[in-house]
């Protein structure tokens, strides 16, 4: 039934979620096409902190299992580096980081506490203001830009296809199933549909009669010129997330977000702002020995968020051939595992390696339609 342009599985959205799903399905020999309105990974998936340490998630074990193998599995470098050191410069921060250690230790993931002297030994850029750190002997970071490309190439190597610069405008349904996606380049026939369109997932699901509550937020990051590599690149803290890249740049984000109009996703504005000064301040506090280092860029990305801040990974009952995944702002690190879960949902109808029951869409049934306005999760009027 797959016509010229059709595929067994069509995935809407070429961010890490859609790409990983496509790669997992292609590994199973399935004929997949990933559609993106622009180039793959040009939204949040290529603009994030690269952190891969999501202990709160049911997919955590799978995330931790997969990342160390991803370069090998994909055949292209992701720049994944293991372990994290989170440095506190006050006692409240230290208490938070210790709490993370407590939670993860209970799950069987080891960590150790560092005193100020040990911090300065392990982290040459740290200073006298460090009150301590937690060294997590798991987790880590990868390079988002290289990772999206690695997924894309790996998928193509397995016979999967990318359709870039193709905008999905709607769906054709018949007999309780979606039979094709409509795009600005014509209809594409399908047996299975995966919607992983980031902040646009809600709008697309509405076309299928489902309410997926999502609010879009803009968040910013900064990057400096390269510095000599520290032994551990995954050092953050002081209210910042991020890492030293393998090239040596310090790439960090954090701080307040701005709620924005999600729109249809066709024209996305992602300006960065003078918030870079507040980020600079915290980075210079975290790494007093890097105060002289020059910031060379800042950027912003638009992020999907659900009311409870947790992902939706679900296969709809109706239409019967649609799987949806939106990650509620923590989707990069989890992507190897998310793709696996989506593969299971598409092929087996349920996730085989873990229970994702609490991430179903129906948990939002009956939600006050004004939920976003009531919390102030809406754009400031122009």
């Amino acid at each position: 039934m797959t016509g010229q342009k059709g595929a067994t599985t069509v995935i809407v959205g070429g961010g890490v979620t859609g790409l990983s799903a496509g790669w997992w399905l292609a590994r199973d020999g399935m004929d997949v096409v990933v559609i993106d309105k622009g180039i793959i990974g040009w939204e949040a998936s290529g603009r994030n902190g690269g952190g891969c340490t999501h202990y709160q998630s049911q997919l955590f074990d799978e995330e931790q299992r997969l990342w160390p193998q991803m370069d090998q599995l994909l055949g292209y470098p992701t720049e994944y580096r293991r372990e994290r050191v989170i440095v506190a410069i006050n006692e409240l921060q230290f208490a938070r980081y210790r709490r993370m250690a407590e939670i993860t230790r209970a799950m069987g993931y080891p960590s150790s506490e560092l005193d100020p002297r040990q911090v300065r030994e392990l982290v040459p850029l740290a200073g006298d203001n460090a009150v301590g750190a937690v060294h997590f002997h798991f987790g880590g970071h990868a390079n988002p830009q290289r990772t999206v490309q690695a997924y894309g190439w790996a998928l193509q190597d397995l016979g999967g296809r990318l359709m870039q610069h193709t905008f999905v405008t709607g769906f054709s349904t018949a007999g309780g199933k979606v039979v094709a996606v409509r795009t600005n380049r014509g209809e594409i026939g399908l047996d299975n549909l995966v919607i992983a369109a980031g902040p646009q997932t809600g709008r697309l699901l509405r076309l299928l009669g489902h309410d997926l509550p999502l609010a879009a937020g803009r968040a910013e990051m900064i990057v400096t010129e390269p510095l000599p590599l520290m032994t551990h690149g995954g050092v953050d803290g002081n209210g910042l997330y991020g890492r030293q890249t393998l090239r040596g740049n310090l790439a960090y984000g954090g701080g307040p977000h701005e709620w924005v109009e999600a729109g249809d996703g066709q024209a996305v504005a992602r300006p960065s702002t003078p918030l870079l000064r507040n980020l600079a301040r915290r980075l210079a506090e975290l790494f007093p020995k890097a105060g002289h280092v020059r910031m060379i860029r800042s950027w912003a990305g638009i992020i999907e968020n659900t009311p409870d801040g947790r992902p939706v990974i679900d296969r709809l009952a109706d239409p019967g051939n649609v799987t949806v995944a939106t990650m509620s702002s923590v989707g990069f690190g989890l992507s190897p595992a998310t793709g696996h879960a989506i593969r299971d949902l598409v092929i087996d109808g349920r996730c085989r390696f873990t229970d994702l029951g609490k991430l179903r869409l129906d948990r939002f049934a009956g939600l006050d339609p004004d939920w976003a306005a009531r919390r102030g999760w809406v754009p400031i009027a122009a």
Binding site: H165, T224, P256, A269, L283, M295
Partner: protein, 481 residues
């Protein structure tokens, strides 16, 4: 209700305000400032000159090629020097313009699509010690132009310089550290540069032209039909240049400086950061802000004046393409296109992962397969090869990379999208950019991530009594993505 963790209301008011803010104290900016002051406006005019020696060493904002003397590190002397080199500033002072030298405009921001929380219409300013925001009613950007760079073997050595940078070191700083120059190009820019150098008692060995005839009338010696085979250097930089002529004959010419005078590129970084509409205009030197007859851009109250709104550029991209083609032929692919990230021409065209990864090129994925998957994207080349990602912020390679993409995809260069500019448009130290006076509310409500209650509750605790405990632990957002 407002989300207490969102950025709304967390930026303080700008430190100062100008009715008219002018960026750039070249002829265009000074004229705009004086006109504004005579109309009764409170005018602030900022210019980054004298630029800190450290920035010059990074080839920011111009391609100085390490050919400045140690005098540039003497700030007070350089301020005197810039003042005397720009006599028109005297008139500006007299008209009541508040002139600030040695001040960088590192960003410009207005509320618009994707941002509504700025503390008004602001420009980010900095000197060598600190940064601050200035609000404005009207903004005139008169940021000038910079040099088009084409690469060749040895281009990374001290002594390869741009024409605008040379002009600046000679005329504005009186701090040029060379004696004998070979000039690339033979159009008006090259000839004027040569004349200015000669007027300063410098020696111009010759002009080099890849086309078969000189591009303007001149008595200077022009080696036509020649390209640079390599810049030959020693510890202190360029000592000679090997030129390859018709039939492959190589001519060596002694010089300490090779000056790129092929073309100028309007400085549109602030226009792009602001979100002004830009258009690619080969005959104006590249991307320029779209302006009306008065220089007014697509953003109300923001205008562009002088070279940054376009520099006349003869037959547009054609001449620059000829240079890129000729230098590609004259090289062996190992010449660096991106000097910061050390990306050679062959690595760029082969879409090689950066050198620090030490991994082989991707099998079956190259520039032509990328072009088969969609239109050329400079931004995609950036992430694959790291070209244009370094500390000079792409000033030395952007245009050449875009022309290579045009050649590879058989497109008019005007159709290759501009690789976006981002603040800060000057690479400044963290401690300079840091907001020393940030609002208390920014500090109190700062979170690593969105601060959504329950987001980091372990999955097992969801829907149990522990979920509530997690939320009430008072530790808030403890996650680190």
């Amino acid at each position: 209700m407002q989300d207490p963790k969102s950025v709304a209301g967390k930026h303080g008011a700008p430190a100062e305000h100008a009715e008219l803010l002018v960026i750039g104290a070249g002829p265009a900016g000074i004229a705009a400032a004086i006109a504004g002051a005579r109309d009764g406006a409170k005018v602030v005019l900022v210019d980054e000159n004298p630029v800190a020696g450290g920035l010059m060493g990074l080839d920011v904002p111009l391609f100085y090629g390490q050919r400045m003397t140690a005098a540039v590190h003497n700030k007070p002397r350089m301020v005197e020097q810039v003042l005397s080199a720009k006599p028109a500033l005297e008139e500006a002072f007299e008209a009541g313009v508040d002139v600030r030298l040695g001040v960088y405009a590192w960003g410009a921001f207005v509320n618009g699509p994707g941002v509504q929380t700025l503390p008004g219409r602001v420009v980010g300013l900095a000197d060598d010690e600190r940064s601050w925001l200035i609000g404005f009613d009207r903004l005139v950007v008169a940021a000038g132009a910079r040099d088009f760079v084409v690469s060749f073997a040895g281009v990374e050595q001290p002594g390869v310089i741009g024409a605008r940078a040379l002009q600046s070191l000679i005329a504005t700083y009186d701090a040029f550290d060379g004696r004998r120059i070979v000039i690339l190009g033979s159009g008006d820019l090259a000839v004027e540069t040569a004349q200015q150098a000669q007027a300063r008692g410098l020696e111009v060995a010759c002009l080099v032209e890849v086309r078969d005839s000189a591009q303007s009338v001149t008595d200077l010696p022009v080696l036509t039909g020649h390209a640079v085979a390599r810049a030959v250097g020693g510890p202190s930089g360029i000592e000679a240049v090997d030129l390859v002529g018709p039939g492959g004959a190589v001519t060596r010419i002694a010089c300490d400086t090779i000056c790129l005078a092929i073309g100028l590129v309007p400085v549109v970084e602030l226009a792009d950061v602001l979100g002004c509409r830009l258009a690619a205009r080969g005959d104006s030197g590249g991307h320029v802000p779209l302006v009306d007859g008065e220089g007014r851009s697509s953003i109300p109250g923001v205008s562009f004046a002088g070279d940054c709104a376009g520099v006349p550029s003869g037959d547009g991209y054609g001449y620059r393409l000829d240079w890129v083609r000729a230098q590609t032929r004259a090289g062996d692919g190992r010449e660096l296109v991106c000097l910061c990230e050390e990306v050679s021409r062959a690595e760029l065209l082969g879409m090689q992962p950066p050198r620090y990864l030490g991994c082989p090129p991707p099998q079956g994925h190259d520039l032509s397969s990328m072009l088969a998957d969609g239109p050329p994207s400079h931004d995609q080349m950036k992430r694959l090869t790291r070209v244009t990602m370094g500390h000079c912020q792409g000033r030395r390679c952007r245009e050449q990379v875009a022309l290579h993409l045009a050649l590879a995809s058989n497109l008019d260069p005007a159709e290759v999208p501009l690789a976006g500019y981002r603040a800060p448009v000057r690479p400044l130290p963290l401690t300079v950019l840091a907001d020393a006076d940030e609002e208390q509310v920014m500090r109190d409500r700062w979170e690593v991530w969105f601060g959504i209650p329950g987001q980091w509750t372990p999955y097992a605790d969801i829907g149990t009594e522990r979920e509530v405990l997690d939320d009430e632990s008072g530790l808030g957002d403890h996650m680190h993505l």
